[in-house]
């Protein structure tokens, strides 16, 4: 019954799903790792990215629209993320449970705002023609939208890796991540680092929104369908580790796609949740244990 083509196809689909998970989860991992903030409005940053892509398509039609939409969505979501950080999260930073509730409230407000502005009906973004083809390879078919999304995820990961490892901002982020008090004592403006990282995280979520619009409709509740897998990925990855987040996304993507060879989508979601629970029983610290003072009592 196990057909080699179907298996190979599902491995590809697993990586494709993983690329979406990574894009949706990176921002969460960044803000949790650095600030211990659980941003419940993260899904709405995806939604915002999707709507910004839709608006960009209205203004700049043509094959390059998607390439214009990506920076627009990144900046737009980062801007809203920055406002959220300055007005809500910063003021509640010492009370993690309050940020949870406050950002959940923001999430509801943003969903309702989108419903009022764009209507409850989803808006569609049509993929440009150059993304409407695919690669045929020995009985397998790889849609170019999915290849494109994989490429975006790889570029974002590489860019983020370079940013953290090689730039001054990355150095500051690592310093604050390792010991916030010490970093502050040595003259680093930790609040500005927080703001920058939060903007970066929400900006990536905005990018995720753009690529999601290639696969499905943009609706006021689109963020909700990705926020749960994103949290799963972050928890399994080791709460805040970028490498862990990436590995967890790949593992979960593959578990989801390969189990669907035998199960239907509903059952495979159940299996995925079970898998995460069992995994955490044996490795509660996640894929990569984060050694950060920020996470110690």
């Amino acid at each position: 019954m196990l057909d080699a083509t179907l298996f190979a196809g599902q491995v590809f689909n697993g990586f494709s799903v993983a690329s979406l998970f990574v894009l949706a989860a990176l921002g969460l991992a960044l803000s949790f790792g650095l600030m211990r903030v659980i941003n419940m409005a993260h899904g709405e940053m995806l939604m915002l990215g999707g709507y910004l892509a839709y608006l960009t398509y209205l203004i700049v039609p043509g094959p390059a629209a998607i390439l214009v939409a990506m920076p627009v969505a990144f900046l737009g979501a980062a801007l809203v993320g920055g406002l959220l950080e300055l007005t809500v999260i910063r003021r509640l930073s010492s009370r993690p449970l309050d940020t949870l509730l406050a950002t959940w409230g923001v999430s509801l407000i943003l969903q309702q705002a989108a419903r009022s502005a764009f209507g409850p009906i989803g808006v569609g973004v049509t993929a440009p023609d150059w993304l409407n083809t695919g690669l045929s390879l020995g009985g397998l078919y790889f849609p170019s939208t999915r290849i494109f999304i994989l490429a975006v995820a790889v570029v974002v990961l590489a860019g983020l890796g370079l940013l953290i490892a090689r730039t001054r901002l990355g150095l500051l982020v690592r310093a604050v991540n390792q010991d916030r008090m010490m970093a502050a004592a040595s003259g680093i403006n930790t609040r500005r680092v927080d703001l920058a990282v939060f903007c970066l995280g929400t900006g990536i979520a905005g990018l995720a929104g753009v690529v999601l619009s290639l696969l499905g409709p943009v609706t006021p509740s689109v963020g909700q369908s990705y926020i749960v897998p994103a949290f799963l990925v972050v928890v399994m990855g080791g709460l805040g580790s970028m490498v862990g987040t990436t590995i967890a996304a790949v593992i979960l993507g593959l578990v989801s796609a390969l189990s669907q060879i035998f199960l239907d989508v509903s059952m495979s979601q159940v299996l995925m949740l079970l898998f995460v629970i069992i995994f955490l029983q044996f490795r509660p610290q996640g894929v990569v244990a984060t050694r950060s003072r920020a996470l110690e009592g």
């Binding site: 049509t126 849609p143 796609a257």
Partner: protein
């Protein structure tokens, strides 16, 4: 009464009460209960519009037995529990004569005990999976043998040999597909696959891989809501548009097709008991009246039409019975001819509607070309004989 002042107040209050009671005597309250918010709002708001349009038309023409109808509109919020709660509020607090509403089977199942307990009547406008038959619901939407089975008969006559079933994971697709599978087995045809995705699910990569491997002649699609957009988008991206693998959908009407973008679904099929393109003067008038209220671009769909005709059917039954009493209305409604934009229809003794089934193919404007219709009106059968042998409708034998 301690002072004369309070006595005067009480007197005034009594008079005010008497006046409002007298006022209530020339109106009759009915409930309109659809989701005006949440994920189902996209579809249900339009049904609410059609129901209130019928109420306004009847009021303008003199009302029901000399009473003006007062619509009490409630929001079911896409949540079955809220549907049940609002239904009992309508019956107990607003004292409505009847209720028009519901869409998902979950909302209907949640409201059913409320209507049975209060012995009130719900007029339900949407096609559904059958396998239910309550004396307190008038089912005007299609039973499986009025939508799914005619679609299957059509596909069989077209020479389709293998069928792939894709649906959202809840009671309607599961039951509908169970019926299709029984008939496939009976006719010796091939089930190429059966896949369920959670409501609102957006990832169809594995489903599409299986469709590609199975190479079915036709896909029967019982997905609901936004998942349809993701499904058709990802099918197109995989090089399997509606022109290469035919798709027959059971939850895509004119409204959904336009909201999804017609280029995505052009050429795919749907089966309903009403299409906006149905050629008749009555239908042209209906579409025109609706557009005059809700804009030139407004789509008119099968569930809307059923919501609209439910109000007229209730009016006709009340007038035939000469009473607003549930038992009298129910008895009078059965067999009564009702003129509607989809022709003259009537309720069978099992309280479901006799109606014709049509297969339509979507064009580039989001309209259906009607390419097939059943030979005659189809008698509604809540229990498919092949799937639920021996089960019959309790109402019919009463």
């Amino acid at each position: 009464m301690r002072t004369s002042a309070t006595g005067a107040l009480a007197g005034a209050a009594t008079i005010a009460f008497a006046v409002s009671a007298a006022h209530a005597a020339d109106t009759v309250a009915v409930g309109v209960l659809q989701s005006l918010s949440g994920t189902m709002a996209i579809s249900e708001v339009t049904v609410k519009n059609a129901e209130t349009m019928a109420i306004d038309e009847i009021n303008a023409a003199g009302g029901v037995m000399g009473h003006q109808i007062e619509a009490v509109i409630e929001d079911g919020a896409s949540d079955p529990a809220i549907f049940a709660q609002k239904a009992s509020k309508l019956i107990q607090n607003d004292d409505v004569a009847t209720v028009f509403g519901g869409w998902t089977s979950a909302s209907r199942k949640a409201m059913l005990p409320v209507f049975e307990r209060a012995d009130s009547l719900l007029w339900y406008p949407v096609q559904f999976e059958g396998n239910e038959c309550s004396a307190n619901i008038m089912y005007s939407g299609a039973q499986p043998n009025q939508q799914i089975l005619p679609a299957y008969e059509w596909a069989k006559a077209e020479g389709k040999k293998s069928y792939f079933l894709v649906g959202s994971d809840y009671v309607f697709p599961r039951t509908a597909n169970l019926i299709v599978k029984k008939h496939l087995a009976e006719d010796g045809l091939d089930l190429a696959g059966e896949q369920y995705v959670p409501l609102g699910g957006t990832d169809f990569s594995a489903v599409i891989a299986k469709i590609r491997a199975a190479k079915p002649d036709i896909i029967f699609n019982t997905l609901n809501g936004d998942s349809n957009v993701s499904f058709f988008k990802q099918m197109a991206a995989s090089g399997m548009g509606p022109d290469s693998v035919p798709v027959m959908s059971f939850s895509i009407a004119e409204q959904e097709a336009r909201a999804m973008g017609t280029s995505l679904v052009e050429g795919s099929y749907a089966t309903w008991n009403y299409f906006e393109t149905l050629p008749s003067d009555a239908n042209a008038d209906f579409v025109q009246a609706y557009r005059a209220l809700y804009g030139e671009d407004a789509a008119v769909t099968d569930p809307m039409l059923h919501g609209y005709l439910n109000v007229y059917a209730w009016k006709a039954a009340v007038e035939a019975a000469g009473s607003f009493d549930t038992d009298a209305v129910r008895a009078a409604a059965v067999g009564l001819d009702i003129d509607t934009p989809m022709g003259t229809v009537s309720f069978a003794p099992n309280q479901s509607l006799r109606q014709t089934a049509y297969v339509g193919q979507l064009d580039s404007q989001g309209q259906f070309d009607i390419i097939w219709s059943s030979d005659a009106m189809i008698e509604p059968e809540p229990y498919d004989a092949l799937t639920f042998p021996g089960k019959t409708c309790g109402v019919a034998t009463n």
